[in-house]
């Protein structure tokens, strides 16, 4: 698969009394054409901020302070504002957790989708309406013709998210960024939306950057997974490899603390402590304050990236040490 999006050494900072405070710190990853990459982490890990940085939508006073975001070789961070506006929606579209807050409550949903279409494509109202109707049908909205004239409050949460997906797809983007697309939905409706996203990716070949905290959703949808902790990547691997054999102690802890994986009667394994806030990030490995395997270099030295032959990447002194021990024996 060819690389479509390349994020290189991305750093996003917010000003603070003690200088610029990074919330995304030196992140690099690739997204291939048609691939689903999951960006996983708990709140405060910087996963949503990474997505907003790619689209240059970081809320002020935050800003992307260094790095590059190459879309088919072109650095989005250096595009003029007007051209960047054309990239958003047309080439990279985004859907959010709360479809209610992303839709205008006083405009019929069909008109909102038509507006999105006409913004990028100079076609007349009749054509825009028929394209919106086709999109509604494609994302599985029952009775699409009637639903074009519905207002957001007429629709359930699941239908609103389908409208958002229809709007995001209206310009046939190469990349769809989905930020916790099912978190606000009931589990039976979540399964519908996951099926829809999987089918869209298969049929249209849209690459998806899926932002989630739920490893079950990762398993359902992702090809590869990038795990973030406190602004940095800790592990990037194929879905199967990551879920069956996590290497980083944080990934291991995340998987173990899922209640359904604990056998009856046993105590739930915990990750002690809390995610530190950006002004309290340790100088060494960010996870060192909560890591059960923490040893001498972890608290003071940032672990370097280790990459194996299969392209699996991990940032951990302990993994490095055990790999060294293996190769020398």
């Amino acid at each position: 698969m060819s690389v479509l999006l390349q994020v290189k050494n991305l750093r996003t900072t917010f000003p603070s009394a003690s200088g610029p405070m990074p919330v995304v710190d030196d992140i690099s990853f690739d997204l291939a054409r048609g691939e689903v990459l999951a960006l996983v982490g708990e709140s405060g890990s910087g996963k949503s901020m990474t997505a907003l940085s790619i689209l240059r939508l970081v809320p002020k006073p935050g800003k992307v302070s260094s790095g590059s975001v190459l879309l088919a070789g072109e650095d989005l961070l250096r595009l003029p504002v007007t051209e960047m506006r054309r990239v958003r929606g047309a080439r990279i579209a985004m859907i959010f957790q709360e479809p209610m807050t992303s839709l205008n409550p006083v405009v019929a949903v069909g008109a909102q989708v038509m507006e999105a279409i006409q913004l990028h494509d100079p076609i007349n109202k009749v054509d825009a309406r028929s394209r919106a109707r086709a999109l509604f049908a494609e994302v599985g909205i029952p009775d699409p013709e009637a639903r074009l004239d519905a207002y957001p409050h007429h629709l359930s949460g699941g239908l609103k998210q389908r409208v958002m997906i229809a709007m995001a797809l209206s310009m046939r983007p190469e990349i769809l960024i989905a930020d916790e697309p099912t978190t606000a939905l009931d589990v039976t409706v979540q399964a519908q939306i996951l099926t829809l996203l999987r089918n869209l990716q298969r049929e249209r070949g849209t690459a998806i950057l899926l932002i989630t905290h739920d490893l079950g959703i990762v398993n359902e949808l992702a090809d590869r997974v990038a795990v973030m902790y406190a602004g940095r990547l800790v592990e990037v691997a194929e879905r199967k490899a990551l879920l069956s054999n996590p290497l980083h102690p944080y990934t291991q802890g995340l998987l173990k603390s899922i209640p359904s994986r604990t056998p009856a009667g046993e105590r739930l394994p915990e990750i002690p402590g809390v995610v530190p806030s950006p002004d309290q990030w340790p100088t060494g490995c960010r996870f060192s304050t909560r890591c059960p395997l923490c040893f001498e270099p972890c608290e003071t030295i940032q672990p370097e990236e280790i990459e194996d032959s299969a392209g699996r990447r991990v940032w951990c002194h302990e993994v490095e040490r055990s790999m060294d021990a293996e190769s020398s024996s």
Binding site: E42, S43, S156, G158, L159, D186, V187, T188, V189, Q190, A191, Q192, L194, T195, R198, H213, D214, L215, G216, I217, V218, N219, E220, R239, K240, L243, S244, G253, L254, L255, S257, I258, P259, S260, R261, T262, A264, G265, R267, L268, P269, E270, I271, P272, V274, V275
Partner: protein
């Protein structure tokens, strides 16, 4: 899944025939035009030292059940026997006294803590109103012990809620509930907003407290994986009614009602060999102001029969628990 720790036949809370409907008022004269049937004919019991989980999707009425028990909503029908008295018949003074043994912890701890009050005062407030502790210094000692018990640093007692993380605030809410020595705590989505690593800590804490203090929990949640870890008994709700009830192990291993099956099948698995396992249920949850005729689930059920569209199924007894589905109807021995 948990072993049954209760003593036989003992009941701490018995809810029977609970009904809470909200009137829908429309127009200039605010005429009543219908009812939101939030909770209809809900009955269950909780034994001392047990966790009873009430599960279902949004709008199923699970939260209204919890709030009706505490009389934060007014139920129209039914009985709520707690420690031998029907809470729904108590006057407001006796109800206030009954609340000492009946506490609630919500999903959003920030919204249930007073942002302008030190946490020591929030935890001690309930003790003062119920006359727990001989004097202020005794109560302060209790606050310190409670903070330690929920694994917070007792020296943080002079701080305000905003100085704590989400998980720590939920610990404060637990300490505040424990301060008045409750016997039953209603946990309404108490771990749903927490990150999974923090959620595990709080679940373990709730379980430890139950074993130490013999507490009972009414655990209200949409998250079935949490239920499996914590609950002894489970009731599944759909559009205001309990559709299935039983011991946790039986509900997860041999669900009887098609809705319970659908709910369990919709949860994405983290087993890398089981991808595509999250099965969708058709359609959306109908509105509780206009529930479908017959069985409320028939519009989404994959094994719907003709009679389901018109006849309302009662709760049929199973070997363990019960199911509101005609498929669970006992066949006549002569057939």
């Amino acid at each position: 899944m948990r072993k049954d720790a209760s003593r036989d036949g003992e009941t701490l809370l018995r809810v029977s025939g609970l009904q809470t409907w909200y009137p829908i008022r429309q127009g200039l004269m605010r005429r009543q035009t219908g009812w939101v049937q939030a909770v209809s004919d809900v009955s269950f019991e909780i034994a001392p030292g047990q966790t009873f989980a009430l599960v279902g999707e949004s709008g199923c009425g699970k939260t209204t059940v919890g709030r009706s028990i505490l009389r934060l909503e007014s139920a129209q029908k039914g009985e709520v026997f707690f420690e031998g008295r029907d809470l729904l018949k108590l006057d407001s003074n006796s109800m206030r006294a009954a609340r000492q043994h009946l506490q609630i912890i919500f999903q959003d701890p920030m919204a249930s803590l007073d942002p302008r009050m030190r946490i020591r005062d929030q935890i001690a407030e309930g003790m003062r109103s119920f006359g727990i502790g001989r004097n202020e210094s005794d109560r302060l000692a209790r606050v310190r012990a409670l903070l330690e018990r929920v694994q917070l640093d007792p020296d943080t007692l002079d701080r305000y809620p905003h100085e704590f993380s989400g998980g720590q605030r939920q610990r404060i809410c637990i300490a505040r509930a424990l301060a008045v020595e409750p016997r039953l705590i209603v946990c309404d989505e108490s771990v749903s907003a927490l990150d999974v690593s923090i959620q595990a800590q709080i679940l373990n804490l709730l379980r430890d407290l139950q074993e130490e203090l013999g507490l009972s929990y009414l655990f209200i949640t949409h998250d079935l994986s949490v239920v499996r870890y914590l609950a002894h008994q489970v009731a599944v709700m759909y559009l205001g009614k309990i559709v299935e009830q039983g011991p946790t192990e039986r509900i997860f291993d041999a669900p009887a009602h098609p809705y319970t099956k659908a709910l369990l099948a919709a949860i994405p698995s983290v087993d890398p060999e089981r991808r595509g396992g999250a099965l969708a249920v058709l359609g959306d949850v109908p509105s509780p102001s206009d529930p479908p005729a017959g069985c409320h689930f028939h519009t989404r059920c994959d094994v719907v029969m003709e009679r389901c569209r018109t006849q309302v199924p009662p709760l049929f007894e199973l070997e363990e628990g019960c199911s509101r589905c005609f498929l669970a109807e006992p066949t006549n021995p002569g057939d």
